[in-house]
């Protein structure tokens, strides 16, 4: 059975797919072994023209196009979920509806709190439905892991798979920064910075839809 929350998120993904070209950037900067800052950026500026046109419509190709008020409502829901999560502070979501750039920043006390915050947002936006919950990140014993999204996730949805071609040009980038130097990375596509304390992984969304493990990474720290 399809969850309404999942359908909503699916429709957002489809809207993104209609605008085709967007950039998702996931940045986590650890200030010590426990706490740090997360920055999530969604930059749809390249598709501004299409989004300008789409935002004037109620539906397109049978899909409901959320208007600014609806998107703003969801952002406030997410903001409230984050603010109400223990161990999360300095939450901010900047939104630029002219250039379609949205940036979420928050500080977290531990990776556990970060996972809980992401699950809380997922639950809140998913209309309190029973969405699967994950610990997307683990960080212990000098090892940081970014898990792949499991098989029953949205991105694995057959509808999205069929539309993979529409995501051409869209990219997802992950940047993780640590106070310690990086010893090894499991994902061969990942690059280690010159200082040795940051890892970047960039992939096309189109490929990510077909192979969710492309974004998974296990980073061993010194």
């Amino acid at each position: 059975m399809k969850h309404p929350g999942r359908l909503y998120t699916l429709s957002l993904l489809i809207c993104l797919s209609l605008c085709s070209c967007f950039e998702y950037i996931e940045e986590i900067t650890y200030t010590n072994d426990q706490s740090g800052k997360i920055t999530l950026t969604l930059n749809c500026n390249r598709s501004k023209s299409k989004l300008d046109a789409l935002m004037k419509l109620d539906t397109f190709m049978g899909y409901r196009i959320p208007n600014t008020q609806v998107i703003e409502g969801e952002i406030l829901t997410a903001l409230s979920a984050l603010n109400n999560t223990k161990g999360i502070s300095h939450v901010n979501i900047s939104r630029n509806y002219t250039d379609y750039i949205f940036v979420l920043t928050a500080n977290f006390d531990s990776t556990h709190h970060l996972n809980e915050a992401l699950n809380n947002v997922s639950r809140a936006i998913g209309r309190k439905n029973d969405l699967p919950e994950y610990d997307l990140f683990t960080h212990s014993n000098h090892r940081f892991e970014r898990l792949m999204v499991s098989n029953d996730s949205l991105i694995e949805s057959s509808n999205i798979r069929k539309r993979a071609g529409m995501f051409d040009g869209a990219t997802a980038t992950a940047i993780y920064r640590f106070p310690r130097a990086v010893k090894a990375v499991s994902n061969q596509r990942a690059m280690v910075s010159k200082s040795g304390k940051a890892v970047m992984l960039k992939t096309d969304i189109k490929d990510l839809i077909k192979k969710p493990n492309l974004f998974a990474n296990s980073i061993t720290l010194q």
Partner: protein, 681 residues
Amino acid sequence: MKKIILIFSLMLLTFSGNAQNLYEYIPENTTMLISMRMKQLDVKSKGQDYKTFLRDLVEPYTYSNESRIVSVKSVFMNVDSFGIASDQEIYKFRQVIGDLSGYMFLFKVNDLQKFEKSITSGKWSRYPHDYDYAVSTPYMATEEMIADTVYENTETTVALENTELIEPNYVVERVNDGKLYIAKEQVIGVFSDHVFIFNLSNSYKFYRNLVEDDNDDNDYSYNSWEDYKDSVYFAELRAYRQKTDSLMYVRLNTKKEEDYQSLSREYADVETGILERARKRASVRKMEKQKKQLSALTEFMKNNLSKPVNHIGKNRNFLSVHNANNDFMYFSQFTDMLLAELRSEFSNRRYNNSKTFKTFPIDLISEATTLLTLNFNNGVAEIGSVANINSRFQERLKEALDVKFDKNLFKYIEKENLMGYIAYRSDNLKMAELYKDVYVQTFNHITNGIYADGTTGFELAWNFIDKEKLFNTFGGGAIFAVTGFSDVSVNVVSYDYDEDFNRTEKVETRVEKQPKVVYVTTVNNHKNAKDIIDILSRFSFVQKVNENILVIPSQYNFRTELYIVLTKSVLLITNDKDLALKNSSGLPSSKIMESSEQKFITSHMIACRTFTEKTLNNVRNNYFSNGGYERWYNPMFNALGNFELYTDLTATGTQGRARLILKDSSENSLSKIIELMFMMK
């Protein structure tokens, strides 16, 4: 022999009695009528659920739906279950009987027993009763009370949810040759040769005149403090609270350990009982009021429901289209409909009490009728329109449209990537004068001249306007066309990363595709046009290319440069830079739109055509060059041909046609369109 002749005559009489047309039950003065042939549509749709797209047309949702016996939507979505003769026409029309008005559905049924059994089974009354006034009102009142008494409302809400509802309730009344099923907002008539469902949309005046208002809401709910204070409920509640307050005071002060919250809940349970009694009283009063209303409505319907002497079949405009076996037909007595709608806007007491009532004629738009037909034939879906107007309006319209289309305009429409266009011709000045007269006449007529001084003032102001400059500088003819796609430069924000993956924002310029649009119209007065261009050039956001060419740079949401070009004969507005700067005197004749298209434009008052194949290909190539179009492109490309629309002047008005042509001329257009609509849904 005489007996045989008598029997034969009786048979003939019986036969002619049954063979009468259903539309004879529709009064001639109905303002709006829709007819549809469902069996025909069933066959053409090849079993696909086309009715899904008709739901709101059949019966839009209103609050009064809740007090109806059946939902008309559910009836027409399940014609077989109701025994309706879908091979015959089904009519929906505006019906007015005295103070009652609404929409009447008229049809024949194959099986009267089946129909009656279906409506009395109750299973087709599909409106949820959650919205029932009886429930919502006490709930709101309860919230008021809660705010007042600080009691928790859990128990109270549960009690209200179990409220026994009295709607829908109806009476059955036998009349001459049939039966009437009467509910507060719906009357169903079941007769041997026809059945009707009359959904009342305006019954306020009827009930206000026939049933006295017994203020049944002024018990536990209230419109004013005075009403509430006088209610039995308030008296009981006040007495009870005085008592419980004293008891609570004693208990709280003698047994210090008592919890105030649980004590409050204990008393709240009893208070809920007071509310319950009040609710029952209101329920009984509501039942009594409803009985009175139903009895009045029954009496009224018995006395006033009769076959109209003048039926719609006497209207030749209606009959000529009706007999053409259309899938759908829409007929409106436009003037009556418009005036009825507008009058209702001015029908409140302030206007009615005015002493300056006067009759103002509406000689221009009187007797106007509109007919629309929709037919799904093999290879083409076609909408036809016929508007009949009176000779005075016709004469003025003819004058306003007596303009030759300026062939110079074709020079600006490039044929190579032409995706679609709309062209029209008219004398703007004469058209504006005509509209002004219609507006003034109609306004004075519907307001009975209350604002006659205002409209006279408007006419005075109109007299001072330089109409030549306003309406006649440009005009005569115009074309708006989409002629392909052009490249435009846009700035986009992206990110760069340094060697430690710290990001910096960068702005880069990239090329995007934008539709090329062209609007070109005739210049009637070059001096006036030049004055306008000179004034426009002084705006800060406008750049002057030369004396006759202006450009508005891209800004805000408008990501393309817009050129305004004035030549001796035309005004051109376009985002096609080449056309504006290099071809301002027109394209070479080898590049301009096909002569067949030119002929199509010059031979109609309004002409529009879209080239589906070219449009789909252009959209695919420019916006979906990397894929993602397969789902919609192939089915649409394989099915759809061009779309065209045109309107012409006739001896009695105007007539128009809109045609969606399919590539496969052997396939029925309804089944194909429904298939595409489901695919896109």
